[in-house]
Structure formats: structure tokens, C-alpha cells
């Protein structure tokens, strides 16, 4: 399939879920979708279009938390980034890690660094932070503040 065919097929199939499509350059497309449709669209891209899952990146942008799921269709060198906007107070989204092994770790990472809840995640344990890191403190949020009183930030070189 060519680039145009992939995009046409994609937009016609999911036109109800697509809120916005930004065709940035030949190899980059950003698509904003509704959070409810991520499971359908994500698995469709991965299984049917044959895209490789690159990674997901979460960003805290008050009043929302934004997740970008990056997929690449290598034959046509097209990077499709699915954007979903979640409510910052209660960010919840369906987990793709159940169906796609490759998503497992990044969802664990996002849930501890940004406090996003992935419903149905098979293994929601901590991945990166220490065991004594307090619950409910998310370092990648904009309003993160130092909680550790023993920390010493004075000495550089």
C-alpha cells in the first residue's frame, strides 16, 4: 500500500473517532483520536496495517495529560502518532499491554511517572522508581516538587 492508501483506509475506517489529523511532513502524521477508541485503533494499526510500535510518550499539559502512541509503517516510512487527551485530575485509559506485548513496559512506566491508570493492564507493578518512593508523587508532572528532605542539591563541580 502507498502512503495515501494507508491514510485513506485509516481515515475512512475510523472517521468517527478521529478528531483531528495533522499531516506534518512526508513521514510524520499526527492524529488526535478519542480516548475510548485507542484499543480498536491501536490494535488495528499493529495487527492489520503491520505497523511496528515505537513507543508511547506521555506529557503533562494542564489541564490535560496527553499521550502519544507512535507507530511506524516501515515500508512507506510513515510515522503515525496517535494523540489522546485525558483529564488531568483522573487520567484513565484502556490498556493496550494486554494484547500487544511491546506496550507492557511503557504503560507501567507512564503510570508511575505520570500517574495514568491503565485499566486492564496485566502487570501494573512499579518499573523504574525505588520501592520507598511515595505513592501519588509523579516526577514528570509539571507541579512536581521535591519531597525528600534529605536531598542535597548544593554541590556541583
Amino acid at each position: 500500500m502507498t502512503r495515501e492508501e494507508v491514510l485513506l483506509d485509516f481515515t475512512s475506517r475510523f472517521h468517527e473517532d478521529i478528531l483531528d489529523l495533522y499531516d506534518k511532513s512526508r513521514s510524520r502524521v499526527y492524529v488526535t483520536i478519542t480516548p475510548e477508541s485507542i484499543l480498536r485503533i491501536g490494535t488495528y494499526l499493529f495487527r492489520n496495517v503491520g505497523a511496528r510500535f515505537n513507543i508511547a510518550s506521555g506529557t503533562d499539559m494542564p489541564p490535560n495529560i496527553e499521550i502519544l502512541y507512535h507507530f511506524i509503517v516501515e515500508d512507506i516510512n510513515l510515522l503515525i502518532s496517535l494523540r489522546v487527551l485525558l483529564d488531568r485530575e483522573d487520567p484513565v485509559i484502556d490498556s493496550l499491554g494486554r494484547d500487544i506485548e511491546a506496550m507492557n513496559w511503557i504503560e507501567r512506566e507512564m503510570s508511575e511517572l505520570l500517574g495514568i491508570t491503565f485499566t486492564g493492564h496485566p502487570d501494573p507493578r512499579r518499573l523504574l522508581l525505588a520501592d520507598n518512593w511515595p505513592e501519588g508523587v509523579y516526577p514528570l508532572r509539571q507541579d512536581y516538587e521535591e519531597w525528600d528532605e534529605t536531598a542535597d542539591r548544593t554541590r556541583g563541580i
Partner: protein, 395 residues
Amino acid sequence: MMGRTIIPIGPYHPLQEEPEFFTLTVEGETVVDIDVRIGYNHRGIEKLSELKTFENSTFVIERICGICSTSHPFAYTRAVEDVFPMEVPIRAKYIRTIIAEGERIHSHLLWLGLAGHFIGYNTVYMWAWKLREEILDVLEILSGNRNNYAMFKPGGVRRDIKAGDIPVCLKKIDSILPTLDMLKKAVLDDPVLHARLKGVGVMTYQEAIDFSALGPTSRASGVARDVRKDSPYGAYQEMEWDMIVTQNGDVFDKAVVRILEMFESAKIMKYCLNNLPDGEIDANIMDVPPGEGIGHIEAPRGETFHYVKSDGTNRPVRHKVRAPTFMNLPTYKATVQGETISDATIILAAIDPCYCCTERIAVKDPRGRLLYNGKDLVQLSREKTEKMKRRMGVR
């Protein structure tokens, strides 16, 4: 049913690199389950990078991983350039390619040495690391540093290559090729290595796709994917070179892919040094406009992926880093299960993780008594090689 035993591996091991903690569940000799706990190395780089300006971030990014101290800045600078989007001067592209390929050779040699060490071929270890010094010399001549080259900046490179240095570098590269060839033959023709590594830790094509495995790990399973070919960047489309793909997906094939790739890298480096175009090395970008950019490149271990979001100030709002091991590591689930403990060491090492926690291992029986320690496990692996040698009548 045989009783299950839990083997904790790590987090500290004397060999090298970062701490990591694995839990192997074994039944008798066979591994039935594996779990990993990372985070011993988490330094919050993504957050740190948001505190720095676009130019200064390069230095933090370089220090994500010492072996990939080119790949990360390369992907990062491409991400920043993709915000515009813009092209860097052609000479800068060539210089970037030279440094990146030099890094690939030294990284693969490092892996080869360690892999040899794990299965009891310490000669390979010493030879490979000795060769590696020559490549580090080349990189030192070109960039001034053995590691952490500080060559990259958004829009170009920081330092030019002097015409006088080129013949010296070419000579050094040529001087390692015969020894590399010898190493290649020694590995590919050795019957013991064949017996020891073939059919061990197999990852099928479908598993490679499901885990989105990257780089040599997936190319050994027949997935013909390489960012350098698929979405060309740098100077890679200017010359002929081959993508190395093998079909079996076992440890042996992963070694083969890496060894053959080194020759391709040497070829690319030589071409770039011989045909270095004249011109600027820096596009001198001033302000980064608001927007988003993605940069991905082929690092020695697979695709490195960076995402940068800018709001028009001089700092990134968000900077996401994805290193290849993040995707490759979970493939252990597919490769280690069903193998024996003595093979676990080399399988864990075969994806070339950014750490090899294979020495600080302790085997405990269900009541928590210590049965083996870390050394014993590597010992186990070596003994298996010895046994095979004896059986095959090789000395």
C-alpha cells in the same frame, strides 16, 4: 512434578555495567519463568533535559549510556531538526555518520568480548577488547574523546574533521580488518561454538514482531528492518552497503549478525572518510519554533527514538527517550523459558542489553539457603562448554 526454585540474579555483578535484578524460576535445570526489576539506573534524564536549553540537553543525553553516546545525541538532534523541519549541511551529515559507525564497531566488539567471556572463551574477550582500542583511537583523533564525544549539536556538528587526520584514521581502520577477519573465522568455523550456541535461545519471527524487537536482535530472526535503510538519514543513502539478516533467531545468529555488521560499518566509515564533501558543518539554528519533532536512528542495539516538544522557548517542554533495550529486554520472556540455567547467561547477554547482570547470581533452595553464588553460574556455563569440547574431542 519437580519442585520449583527461584533464582535471583543481581543486582550487582562484578563484570561491568549497570545493576539489574532478574528472578528466574527453574524446575530442575529448566527455566520456566523469568521476571525483571529495573530502576537501579534511573536518573530522571527526561526531567533533567526539560531543565536545560536545547543546546545543553545534548550533554545530558550523551550521558544516558556510555556505549551509545552517539546514538542518543544523534536521535535527539534529529528530533529537534524535525520540529522545523530542516536539513543539516551535507558535510555535517558525513561527519555524524562516521562517528555513529565507529561507535557501532566498538559496541559490537565490546559485546563479542563479553559473550566470549561468558562461555569461557577469554581469548576472544581479550582480542576483541584489544581491537576495540584501535577504534577508540580513531574516535579520539576525530572527536578528542574516547567516549562521550560531544560532537553533536542541533543543526550540525561541533567539530570539523581535519584533512590531515583522515589518512591516519583510514590506516587504523585498515589495520584492524585482518584481525577482525580472523575473529570472524574463529567464531563461524568453530565446531564447539556451533554446538554451544546453535538452537539456543531461539526467538521466532512472529515473537520478534510481537515484542517489536529491534536491531540485531530482530534481524537475527529474519526481520529485515534497519532504520538506516527504511528511513534514510545521515549519509547512509549515499553509498552501497548490505543489511545483514539471518533466519534462525538463536544466539549464534545474533553473534553472526553483529560480526558481519562490523565489516559493513568499516566500509561505510571508509567511504565517508574518503569522500568527505566540503562545506559548512553547522546550520547555526537560533530559535526552535513551537511544535513537535521525532528523531529515530539505528543504534548498535536497534532503533533509538526521541520525541521533543517545544513551545517556542529555549527549553523543551517534553523530551521522551526510548532506548532499544527497553523494547528488546522483554523478549527474554520468549527466549529464556524452556532453556537450561547454564544457557541463561549467554541468552541474557545475546540481546546485548545495556547491562549484563549475569555474574552476581545466587541460587537459593525453597527455604532460602544459599546453594550457588554468582560465580558458580558463569562457571556452570563454562563447564558446559568444556564438556562439549571433550565430547567432540576438541582441545
